[in-house]
Amino acid sequence: MAARTSPLQRSGRVLLYAVMIVAAAGIMLPFIWMVVSSLKMNNQVFTAPVQWIPDPVQWRNYVDIWAKADMVTWVRNTLIVSVAVTFLQVLTGSFAAYGFAKMRFPGRDALFLLYIGTIAVPWQSYMIPQFQMISGWGLNNTLFAIMLLQAFGAFGVFLMKQYYESIPDSLSEAARIDGLSEYGIWARIILPLSVPALASLTIITFVQTWNDYLGPLIYLRDRPLWTIQLGLQSFVGEYNAEHALIMTGSVLSVLPIALIFFLGQRYFVEGIATTGVKG
């Protein structure tokens, strides 16, 4: 067969590499442009042809932005919310997942179906009644609102349950016979074994909360409460002609997430694959 000859196969390989490199460059281009523009003088951002290497390099932008934007406040608020949400989600999610994965009792499967069913329900459809309720509790315009909004999602329960089911039941059976309570089994046997899944859930939840725009948009009106996404968006509106500075702000808002992603990539990828395969 012609397709088996090695020169053709080799050129096929070369073609695949070419496709991969071009695709990678294409996908990354907006980020490259963002970083490059953040190091330019404002009037150099839009030039024809595009200037890919800033000259002179304007490191000043990264100093100036702290004076013009309330970055410290935004980052602090975002951190508070993200850490609290992640903590609650991981704790309650992994706890509930034990009930779903390792215990048998009536109503369990129906309850789980309820969780799964809400995956098909967009938050946008019930944001109004939810807003009224949370406002009714007097939590509108507080960071607590955002924490409540994000902390009890079905995703964490789902991901942890999938992982727990890959842990052999014989382990928990043995512990049960040794007289360990169910809570003890969760804390001393299952949790230590599920560190990779906990890491996945932690990273995914943290990044999601960090990036959330709609929740803060609806609930946080006072400037001192703003998160980084709200702040950045208002900065864009206020300084809409300062293209270079806007790009600087964007780079700074993405940077922490990029770092977390590159360090914890493995967990990210595996977490998503786990929810997908049996999905």
Partner: protein, 317 residues
């Protein structure tokens, strides 16, 4: 992490039910105890979930039948909000645009992410790096993404039109400032942002395709395209189902991307359902009416999911 159990059709992943025990007294009390303990595990999360998600979903249907507004009195008006929807030009526009977005974004995202996954599955050197690159847009915030793309799309000075002008004489697309091109611009960015996520799902699915099947097909003389069509795709069906459901819901609820990129404009040319709910509810405080729009969005997402579920069931049988 261990590889999850794969290759079968346990779509919801329930474990096997317990074998039936003959009912005897000590058993029942043990069972009761067991159920109570089970509930305590689920309760902390379920309380939050029930109050913050299930409650509002139920409340939504009630509110959609009232004239609830800024003054706070929700009076029962029956189906009045829904008859008003039938006449509402802006609602029609939003509904149309939502379907427009979904009609392009769903197939585009599936095809592109499947292609990326197939490419990555070729075990090329540098594939890990490529995976990182392709996934990166998904984890960056919508605001930063929108800001950058808006500048790239800038009709007069933006790099995209500069590039296009090398090939096209005459009129270039106005992208986000043009009535006709705002939706395509948003769809391009939406696809670019989401494809990495679905690529990962497909990639996980591809690992479950047995190598022997490919080998057998090759021996039978099937070329690469035939192997893809007759071996890879059928084996990917569970993944394909999950991806289709997820990307469909995601498309119909599209909101923040449009809010920060075009704000529904110019005019109403990129107004979508979610944004219309937002405008009616949080800007004009017609909460009852906004709830009716939200019920429509809810019903679309649920029915599309149910249809896909039934279709998958039938194929499975």
């Amino acid at each position: 992490m261990t590889t999850p159990v794969v290759g079968n059709q346990r779509t919801l992943g329930f474990s096997q039910p317990a074998p039936q025990q003959p009912l005897r007294k000590p058993r029942t009390s043990l069972k009761l105890r067991n159920a109570l303990v089970g509930w305590t595990f689920i309760l902390p999360n379920f309380l939050g979930f029930a109050v913050l998600t299930l409650g509002p979903v139920l409340a939504l249907f009630y509110f959609s039948l009232t004239s609830w507004n800024i003054f706070g009195n929700a009076e029962w008006v029956g189906l009045e909000n829904f008859t008003r929807l039938v006449e509402d030009k802006s609602f029609h526009k939003a509904l149309g645009n939502t379907f427009y977005y979904a009609a392009l974004h769903i197939p585009l995202t599936i095809v592109v992410s499947l292609c990326l996954a197939l490419l990555l599955n070729q075990k090329l050197r540098g594939a890990a790096f490529f995976r990182t690159v392709a996934f990166f847009p998904y984890i960056t915030s919508i605001v930063a993404v929108a800001v950058v793309w808006n500048m790239l799309f800038s009709p007069e000075f933006g790099p995209i039109n500069q590039f296009l002008s090398l090939f096209i004489d005459g009129d270039l697309p106005g992208w986000t400032v043009s009535k006709d091109w705002a939706m395509p611009a948003v769809i391009i960015v939406g696809t670019w942002k989401d494809m990495g996520y679905y690529m990962l799902l497909f990639l996980a699915g591809l690992q479950t395709v047995p190598g022997e099947l490919h080998e057998a097909a090759r021996i039978d003389g099937a070329n690469a395209w035939q192997r893809f069509w007759n071996v890879t795709l059928p084996c990917l069906r569970p993944t394909m189902f999950f991806v289709t459901v997820m990307v469909t819901i995601q498309s119909f609820k599209v909101f923040d991307l449009i809010l920060v990129m075009t704000d529904g404009g110019p005019g109403q040319s990129s107004l979508v359902l979610s944004q219309y709910i937002w405008q009616k509810g949080f800007e004009q405080f017609e909460l009852g009416y906004a709830s009716a729009v939200a019920v429509v969005l809810f019903l679309i997402c649920i029915s599309v999911t149910v249809v896909q579920f039934l279709y998958n069931k039938r194929k499975e049988a």
